[in-house]
Symmetry: C2
Amino acid sequence: METLVEAEGGIDMTNQKKPIQAVVFDAYGTLFDVHSVMEACEEFYPGDEKMISQIWRQKQLEYSWLLSLMERYEPFESITRRGLIFALRSRNLPFDEPVLKRLMGEYRRLGVFPEAFAALERMKDRKLAILSNGNPEMLEPLLEYTGIEKKIPLLLSVEEKKIFKPHPTVYEMAPDFLGIPKEEILFVSANSWDVAGARSYGLRVAWINRARNQQEELDLLPEIEIQDLEELADYVANN
Amino acid sequence: METLVEAEGGIDMTNQKKPIQAVVFDAYGTLFDVHSVMEACEEFYPGDEKMISQIWRQKQLEYSWLLSLMERYEPFESITRRGLIFALRSRNLPFDEPVLKRLMGEYRRLGVFPEAFAALERMKDRKLAILSNGNPEMLEPLLEYTGIEKKIPLLLSVEEKKIFKPHPTVYEMAPDFLGIPKEEILFVSANSWDVAGARSYGLRVAWINRARNQQEELDLLPEIEIQDLEELADYVANN
């Protein structure tokens, strides 16, 4: 079969997919390393930084789901703060307003994954956007600080919809704002539950699985699993 | 002040609350110990039973929230099975259909917390109901097996609403089916996030916190935190 396909000019006849016109990125965990908060956590709470970072992230996500279901949307920055307070209390760590402010400030100075800029440069022949849980007040300073704003011109925030991922109305923002059918948009996330949400809505999806994490048991699979943004650029170049 | 109150016939003038007409119970974790699955897990996977049980429960809840938000409701039994498969895979444990069937069967034979029957007997002057994520096919055999059905005559399942807790439409079933105003219904849960959801909707709430767990940072607090169902019966007797 491979010979036959090659004889027909390398076109895989089994692939019915249309070309990818736009690539839409999740922000936290996908372009930006949420665990880069660990350094600041270590400064205040040496030895606890890893657990704080993990619990902080877990609770940030849980609260985004729970408050969405309760129909009590609030900006992701406020939810992130709730997660941080839970994490510090879970470790019996003392804190005050200046400490919270300092640690929350880290979300505006997260690290960008090292291969991101070169990879985004290689994808500049497609429309690029970010689709994030982050509210603009929280996300825009990060995009500016890191310089990602120069590479990705469009920021779509759930703030507009007042509900968090994985509600379908969030993913619907991609085709709506880009004016491109969802079958021609590749959504990129490092979060397996976000992959499932985007697939459930009907976007094409790439899962960046840097740490070889376990996939959620939700039967909503990405069309490709890759290790980093460089591999993503390879995939987009051929699709 | 206390003397004044007693002089007026024992009525506490500071308490503006109406009497509790109905007590509505969460099932899993509140009346039934979800971690009683550990014994069966130990049989198949000795040494891993505690981690399996914890991850199983965590994923069961996460999937109920995620699939609700994706508008992909499926029965809690199916979600529980997904959680189990995730837990076994996370530990790299082999399994087949008979093992899954056996472990899933444990959800129909969960242990009842030991003080439950005596406590329910003491509350029989109020209307009693269960309000659960569980679908009737999963929950009814458990209620029959344990004999709880003889103590609590009404089962309200989210199956009717096709969305899970903490969506407000679920908690709304309590006043709707009981025909009692929400301010006169005490909802009882061992899960802090469920407490928050019921408060958000407007039920009165008691949090059973057996293990002195940390409260979620959601600013939606119970009117009382107690250690078990016996303490609940004390509280209800005076309210």
